[in-house]
Symmetry: C2
Subunit: 217 residues, 2 copies
């Protein structure tokens, strides 16, 4: 499948590399379209790996991952373009973290709104599915690295069909179907984005980002 | 031990009943001091159970539990009185939930502040320990009811000694020592109070409040 990854940071590289390993084509999107980190990534990932501007990547991908920093996500998606994303699934992994006042970060959008909802409002013809935003990049694509993969992630989105397609893709990443919790529509992203404040404190208390949440009954 | 429980709702009744079962004396505090729900609770819990105003309860308890609704917690604690709580441990279970705009609730205090911190500021001579605010009342005092007790709660507070005393008390409630995660000072209550937005959505998605978070490594 042709896929796009917007963002060249740790999350973007982790997702893009996994997609290549799974046999997909990946165009990594950046502001300039000839990003240094994307170039290095391409050189390690063979002919199915390419790069372009955010708009070129969005146009290329049948499924598009938003792996940008939350503070620039809306601006990036404007550059990517409503027309290029129309009718497609956008998997939103971004969190609206504000590091400008130091550590730990606060949230730029919080409580009665979420970045997931703002993205859906910006792209009304796109199926936004928020997921994978509650754990460290390495675990997103290697869930078995903690507790033998026995831990959970959440999905928020208005389209059941889109969430089903994303669930199927996540299962190819190594996620068990019973570890994907559908919380409901995109407004439930308020819940998962507000996990970040305890996540950063758990990271500090535990001294490692290699942990995860498991919901037990 | 002489203990006090401020609040007569589900959380207050669960905590107070557990304390009686463990052999403690409990004075349940309410605005009037002769609350109908407290009277009913006393009639079921024998001579170690009593009630009084918030100030009378705070004065009575060596350890005091704040089990009031978050929207009134600061007003209740003003009534309880700085002098009555001086030098004592206050276990804060309240969450600043705002139901005024319907379900699911938002938070009255959020992001760069927390109710736990506001309570600590109001009561500078009291050792505030925030805990038990991330799960349903029945599980607070019966952790074995889900996953054989294999799940976690968090502690936030400025005094290590106070957190150790609270941890010891929680272990008598049935919590394993390795399931009590010390997140750090009282500002880490920002993290646990912001778990509530995902908690209420998990409750809706799962159809039961009988679930819990487990942190896996």
């Amino acid at each position: 499948m042709k896929t796009a990854v917007l963002g060249t940071g740790m999350v973007g590289q982790a997702i893009a590399t996994k997609l290549i390993q799974l046999g997909h084509e990946v165009k990594m999107g950046s502001r300039s379209g000839h990003n240094e980190k994307a170039t290095a990534w391409i050189s390690n990932n063979g002919p199915a790996a390419s790069q372009g501007t955010f708009a070129e990547a969005a146009s290329f991908g049948e499924i598009v991952f938003n792996c940008t920093k939350g503070e620039i996500a809306l601006e990036v998606l404007k550059q990517a373009g409503n027309e290029n994303l129309k009718g497609k699934i956008l998997i939103d992994i971004s969190n609206p973290l504000d590091f400008s006042k130091g550590m730990p970060p606060t949230l730029l959008i919080v409580n009665d709104n979420s970045l997931g909802e703002e993205i859906q409002k910006l792209l009304p013809d796109t199926h936004v599915v928020k997921t994978l935003n509650t754990l460290t990049a390495n675990l997103m694509v290697n869930p078995q690295l903690v507790n033998n993969g026995d831990h959970d992630i959440f999905l928020s989105g208005n389209s059941t069909e889109a969430k089903e397609k994303v669930s199927a893709l996540l299962q190819t990443f190594g996620w068990g179907a019973d570890h994907l919790i559908d919380l409901g529509d995109i407004s439930t992203a308020r819940g998962t984005e507000q996990i970040l404040p305890v996540w950063v404190r758990l990271y500090a208390a535990m001294g490692t980002p290699m942990f995860q949440f498991k919901i037990v009954k």
